[in-house]
Symmetry: C3
């Protein structure tokens, strides 16, 4: 496959349309930190497979539409060209576009909200990056989380936005009271394990999880390793602490830890045993924060999205100056400028 990227690279340089496609594919790949168009193609395929399997094709169209609108908004705002080319103004958009048709019924008002949200996600990306670069830390997926929280909360105030799958708002109550009898023994553990990577894109489908892992594999073996370990740690800890089985088997305790594990384990630090232990602590804490935020957000009737990953990863990146001798990936202007090391770096 060594020639393919070269040929693609040549086409990208020569043809503005291919370049635009490349930027958008990299945008999809950057959802899990991968600056690689082929990875992005696998991720979009994972979304499409999940959407079609679940008979919700609008999720795939929405993700694609929002990805393109977020990218175009970045172009209209004359953003930093290098960041744009790496897809750093697409990954929040693609997530907004997957989340809105998941949360709302599909109708014209939903599409209006999706388009506004996708454009705004780029502005929020610039804003959050500008703030966080003060401490040399990237925006992560917080622009997606913040923008989409506003969009889905608004559904409670506007009668023409119909909620499809959220809420209802309720006060938190100990899960133990609900669980009742003995827990079912034969867990579909393998499926839950693979759904972790898929739920990064809000997709509840194990095959999509395999497509996400394949997408990582074409760019970074380290990313595959940390993603799979992260999902396994989340599975073990959430079960061990007695989390809701329905949530665990849907991969809802896995997606944020997958992102934390990849981010801390091989993107922002160079892989090593000491970094692995640090990433393990971060991954375990992400599981706890997922449980905490599920309770905290219950009264509002909206999902946490990837907020647990964002908050824990920020907390574990901010002390960086003190973590000698573990050099961090160079972070310029609050956005990543390098791909993680790995045996199969592409493009």
């Amino acid at each position: 496959m060594p020639d393919t990227p070269s040929a693609w690279t040549t086409m990208v340089e020569r043809n503005a349309i291919v370049r635009f496609v490349d930027i958008n594919l990299r945008g999809a790949g950057q959802v899990i930190f991968q600056n690689n168009p082929l990875t992005g193609l696998f991720f979009l395929a994972a979304i499409a497979w999940g959407a079609i399997s679940d008979d919700q094709i609008a999720i795939a169209y929405g993700a694609l539409t929002a990805l393109v609108i977020a990218t175009i908004t970045a172009m209209l705002l004359d953003v930093d060209h290098s960041s744009l080319r790496q897809g750093l103004f697409g990954f929040n958009g693609v997530l907004v576009g997957a989340a809105v048709p998941t949360s709302f019924s599909v109708d014209p008002a939903m599409w209006l909200i999706l388009v506004i949200g996708a454009a705004v996600s780029t502005i929020v990306m610039l804003a959050v990056s500008n703030v966080m670069k003060t401490w040399g830390v990237p925006a992560l997926t917080f622009p997606f989380v913040l923008t989409t929280w506003f969009l889905v909360l608004a559904a409670y105030s506007f009668g023409h936005l119909s909620i499809a799958s959220m809420g209802p708002p309720e006060l938190p109550h100990p899960v133990g009271e609900l669980a009742g009898g003995p827990q079912p023994a034969p867990l579909p553990l393998l499926e839950a394990w693979l759904k972790g990577p898929a739920q990064v894109f809000l997709i509840n489908n194990a095959v999509s999880g395999v497509l996400v892992v394949l997408g990582l594999l074409v760019n970074s073996a380290w990313a595959v390793l940390f993603a799979l370990i992260g999902s396994a740690v989340a599975l073990a800890l959430s079960l061990g602490l007695g989390a809701s089985l329905a949530d665990v088997t849907a991969g809802l305790y896995g997606f944020s830890p997958v992102l934390t594990a990849v981010g801390l384990g091989c993107v922002f630090y160079e892989p090593s045993w000491r970094v692995a232990l640090f990433a393990l602590l971060g991954t375990m804490f992400t599981v706890i924060v997922q449980g905490a935020m599920d309770a905290a957000i219950a009264p509002f009737g909206i999902p946490t999205f990837t907020a647990p990953f964002v908050f824990v990863t920020w907390l574990f990146l901010l002390p960086k100056a003190k973590l000698q001798p573990h050099p961090h990936a160079p972070i310029k202007d609050g956005v990543l400028t390098r791909t993680p090391p790995g045996p199969a770096e592409g493009a």
Copy 2:
């Protein structure tokens, strides 16, 4: 009218009491970014008219008292003289002073809370300005919002603070369920449109809205234009999305978009078609955030105040470095140092 400001300016320079009055009037004017004592006088008249019409004269006294206390606190703390003279330590105070008698029953405990809150609003203004100037962005009305949130929330814990008009706390529920039958056809659209500018000061009165617009007119025709367009956009979008008719007709979807439109359209950016489109997106997103925050804040039983304006305007100002070639208004030490351009700049 060109001579009046001159005469006033002379008196301000010569007489300490007139100077103190001037500072306080400018403080009122800065609620909508206008560094002009006559504008401030119109705004105070708008508050007084609304308070008297609604038989709640304490709101007018409260606004005036808090304005003066916030200014005096700034003097006691030896703040930057130039910022003080522009009224930048008064506008949060006047809003605290309008909000407290609106939310609480009028009694001695209310006045104690109002005085403490007005003094603290100046300290919070210094704190927030100090933080936000890191990114060259002003505090806006966040000191008012934060201080007053603390004050009104405290009413639930202290028996001697009686709630007059807030809450009750409740979980968010889709507005559609409430709306019920067909929506009434003949909307008092014109009134709702004018109440937007009035609700900036928590006043539910169309005549007060006219006074606010007149106050803008004596300082900046651009501000009038963007305020009226902002209120109209908010009206159209909130109705189009199916917001609560009671809220729309009271101007409650209009006041934050008015502030966003004026701030983005002609205060922090120079008016142009590109800026107008950017401000339009911000204004529309402010309407969505107003709906979102109304839902999010429902469990706490308090109002959003101008938080939707603050958060959206911050998000749309923070990317500034990337928005070439649109020079921003010079922001020094986190506070505005210039009036918006316009045909009728005074003082």
Copy 3:
């Protein structure tokens, strides 16, 4: 007693184990800003007395365990040596370790959460310090608050974490409705006054309060003065505003104001009449914010911990640049580097 510190200092220099003990004792002392091992010993004794009196010895073991783990985590992360030696990576840990056994039933899952939380508290301390030093302000106890909020919220999502004393989550409701009949006349005022300092460590015991005050006395007479005045102001204002008598008599309105009074009155500013007035305003506002946060946090079913102190003290420290001529205590890298002035400075 002048020789004791000297002998101790010599032993600390010569013996690594004594040095480790010294660091941990100072860590306990830094909960109320005191860089003194004897103070820390008194504070740990206060925790132990309260835990034993209440038949909850696990609180004492938990505080000690978490203190040591937080300190060891800091060592493993190669933190700044001078900050480590002053105990600045222990005080959040000791509070996490007191809070977890107070909130949860004592079982293996509780200890797992306590160990993870103690280690994470050091990482959060580094993160928050790194952010706040941008404005020359210390992290205060926010790392404890944030970490422990995540831990205790998680109890609602994980069936194997049993809540001992928290919640239930409920919407805020005016306290007046509950209070009902006339308020009981003979208040145990003295006890409530002394419980303020004890509740800094989540201990509801007046004798523990005396031990805390004695701990302050061996290091700083100013700290004793401001702690006792802070607790008295909190008592008077919370009663005057009609707060819940049960909360007032348990010292729950006193602990945050005690910290604010000491911090603003004699740690971050040099004591003077003007500073005393500034600290008084901050202490009064802390009482209001305590009432506000009690209402705001009710839907989540968790305690505020020391958040009211943290938020108010940040707001009152952030304007520092404008508060000439009141030099602040030198704050280096976001952490305190000096003990407050006083007649009995030790070690």
